[in-house]
């Protein structure tokens, strides 16, 4: 993040590697989380998200590289001396303590005086709307309530950074949506940096200020939800976030911000050059065009501009209410096209039917040429 002022950085990983035996769970990851930011780490199972979080919390030490909190190298600082708190996926509430005792634990360990502990525990339980359950034991509570206790137990210490490892993973869909909103508003309210691990892309997109997409121990891209979705810097990110079509080919022309590919069948496809400033495709190299289904339009007649216009055969049509999802054949490749149903009609002729021919178009600025 060269454009980020360093004074504003809460947590930073610099070239961090973590090996378990020969396997690198985290492989040369560098990233910087700004203060008061809602930062999501997103990636498929086993990509190293939890390992990153555990290194920030101090449960694991990097094999090489360094973790900085508030600009200070953490080295071998034990977890109990770091100004971060964790909300564990399994909540890890102490079963032999009541809710109030659980929440008070961190304050007691820091030597806060008893009346102050009592007051702050009360406040924290207010914050998560559970003051009436203070004397319950964890196992007498529902998953959502336990989740909120775990949150209160961490927040009561007013850490600089809160680490959350898939905190909503154990909740059912409905509760999960509720808690997403609650968590987001809570974060704004308390003004604490949240590093939030999830493998649910929708969760990451709706909640975060910025997202780090990880795969196989690498941090592939860091950016706002819009950047991640609209300007993925590699094939993996484009594929992992949302839906997209890939059209493979070799680069035939490079023209300013745009490049043109020729597919195996000889069809030219043009798109914006993606993948960051140092990713300039060269003529003759293999590349792929990524174009999202909602950015393609289908027409009955050939459009006036010939760029990215191809005659295709409709393969299948799926009506899902808000839009119609059409699969067309471009050569051998299946291309997904989502057409928004912006007209209210019962006319069956309004929709394409399988077997018909159509013209597919998309604007070059709505497609990305990716070389990796």
């Amino acid at each position: 993040m060269p454009d980020t002022p360093t004074a504003d950085i809460g947590v930073e990983l610099r070239d961090v590697v973590k090996k378990f035996g020969e396997v690198a769970a985290v492989d040369h990851v560098s990233l910087a989380v700004r203060n008061k930011e809602f930062f999501a780490m997103l990636g498929p199972s086993g990509c190293g998200k939890t390992t990153c979080l555990r290194m920030i919390a101090g449960f694991e030490r990097p094999t090489s590289g360094e973790v900085y909190i508030n600009g200070e190298a953490q080295g071998a600082t034990p977890p109990f001396e770091r100004n971060v708190n964790t909300v564990f996926q399994s909540y890890a509430l102490f079963p032999h303590m009541t809710v109030a005792q659980n929440v008070a634990f961190g304050l007691e360990m820091r030597g806060v005086a008893a009346p102050e502990v009592k007051r702050r525990v009360g406040e924290a339980l207010e914050l998560v709307r559970l003051p009436h359950l203070a004397s319950r034991y964890p196992k007498q509570m529902s998953g959502g309530q336990q989740q909120r206790v775990a949150l209160a137990r961490a927040l009561v210490n007013r850490p600089q950074v809160l680490l959350l490892d898939e905190p909503l993973g154990a909740l059912d869909q409905k509760l999960r949506k509720e808690m997403q909103l609650e968590l987001k508003s809570l974060q704004t309210q308390v003004g604490i940096t949240f590093v939030f691990v999830t493998h649910d892309q929708e969760e990451a997109l709706t909640m975060s200020d910025r997202i780090c997409v990880m795969s196989q121990g690498h941090a592939l891209q860091v950016g706002t939800p819009v950047e991640i979705y609209e300007r993925p810097n590699c094939r993996f990110v484009a594929d992992f976030i949302g839906e997209t079509n890939f059209i493979d080919g070799t680069v035939s022309a490079v023209n300013g911000d745009f490049a043109t590919l020729k597919t195996a069948a000889g069809m030219p496809v043009t798109g914006r050059i993606g993948g960051g400033p140092d990713a300039r495709p060269t003529v003759g190299a293999n590349a792929t065009v990524s174009v999202r289904p909602e950015k393609i339009t289908l027409a009955e007649k050939a459009p006036e501009s010939g760029v990215n216009a191809h005659e295709v055969r409709v393969f299948s049509v799926g009506y899902v209410g808000s839009d119609t999802r059409v699969v067309v054949k471009l050569g051998d490749a299946n291309i997904d096209v989502w057409e928004q149903n912006s007209v209210s009609t019962l006319d069956p002729n309004y929709f394409f039917r399988p077997g018909e021919t159509a013209w597919l178009t998309f604007k070059p600025e709505n497609a990305l040429v990716l070389t990796s």
């Binding site: 449960f59 961190g106 360990m109 137990r153």
Partner: protein
């Protein structure tokens, strides 16, 4: 009475009248099962009940009930040698239990937490004493302490130049060591069982909240392991109090535990006083086991 149609339900047809009507044979079956079960209970408990009852019998000898008395208990309490043996048993049991609990718990923690080669074999070695015949353990310990005594004698002779008349290491120390040896594996096993479903993220959570290693251990690990440790301790306590064979091999002069005293008193014949002592011992064991069950129940 229920209507009898089970024959057809069972899938076979009765062609002739059975020798015994079906209902009768069913009743017979039930009755014999009941009889066998009752027999088993009788087999287990009649001797004990007889022992307890006769501890209240005023007759000095013989199997004839002559009337209720508490005099045997009175005599028991006034029997100095017996009380002395009981106290010795208690002291040995307490000391050996404390040591066994500390060693057993820490060993269980180490075995659970650390990875090393052939852990399975080491684990098996740790609970081996549970299945080693007591007589083997007794003989081996007696031999070992004999050797040590010999060594001590040789050492004292070498240092002072005078050969001591007695050099016997056997006594309180050897009893405690032996009792720790056979009761520690039980503590180890119960704590290990408790550790198997111990969630280590709870310890991480404690450290995350600012507790150092020691406070994490005292506030989280120990309270959560407590039921396992306590039931292990109660087991060790009863085992130590009851032990005869091993104690018999390793006790020194003057270190007669209660079971050894009972055994030696028995050589003069069974007296109702022995019954009274045994009853007291039984009561004590039942008490401890009940306590252990109650503690485990409360945790679940």
């Amino acid at each position: 009475m229920t209507q009898a149609t089970p024959s057809s339900e069972l899938g076979w047809k009765r062609h002739s009248k059975p020798l015994v009507p079906y209902e009768t044979s069913e009743k017979l079956g039930r009755f014999s099962l009941l009889a066998i079960t009752l027999g088993a209970f009788a087999f287990l408990y009649v001797p004990i009940i007889v022992l307890v009852v006769f501890s209240f019998n005023s007759a000095r000898t013989g199997a004839v009930w002559q009337g209720f008395t508490l005099s045997w208990y009175e005599r028991m309490i006034n029997n100095e040698r017996l009380i002395d043996a009981a106290l010795k048993s208690l002291v040995i049991a307490t000391v050996s239990t404390i040591i066994a609990v500390i060693i057993g718990t820490l060993t269980a923690l180490a075995m659970e937490r650390y990875k090393f080669r052939s852990k399975g074999a080491w684990d098996a070695l740790l609970y081996m004493p549970v299945i080693v015949p007591e007589i083997v353990m007794g003989v081996s310990l007696a031999m070992f302490f004999g050797l040590v005594s010999g060594g001590v004698k040789a050492l004292v002779t070498a240092v002072t130049g005078v050969e001591p008349e007695v050099a016997d290491v056997r006594g309180f120390g050897t009893l405690v060591i032996s009792h720790v040896a056979f009761s520690m594996p039980f503590v180890y096993l119960t704590v290990r069982a408790r550790l198997a479903d111990f969630d280590t993220t709870l310890e991480e959570a404690a450290k995350d909240l600012g507790a150092n290693e020691m406070r994490t251990f005292m506030r989280i690990t120990l309270p959560l392991l407590a039921p396992g440790i306590i039931s292990g301790a109660l087991l060790a306590l009863t085992l130590s109090i009851d032990d005869f064979i091993i104690s018999f091999f390793v006790n020194g002069k003057g270190w007669n535990t209660l079971p050894i005293y009972i055994w030696s008193a028995l050589k003069q014949g069974v007296t109702p006083e022995i019954n009274a002592v045994s009853t007291a011992l039984l009561l004590f064991s039942i008490l401890i086991v009940t306590l252990s069950v109650v503690i485990q129940r409360r945790q679940q």
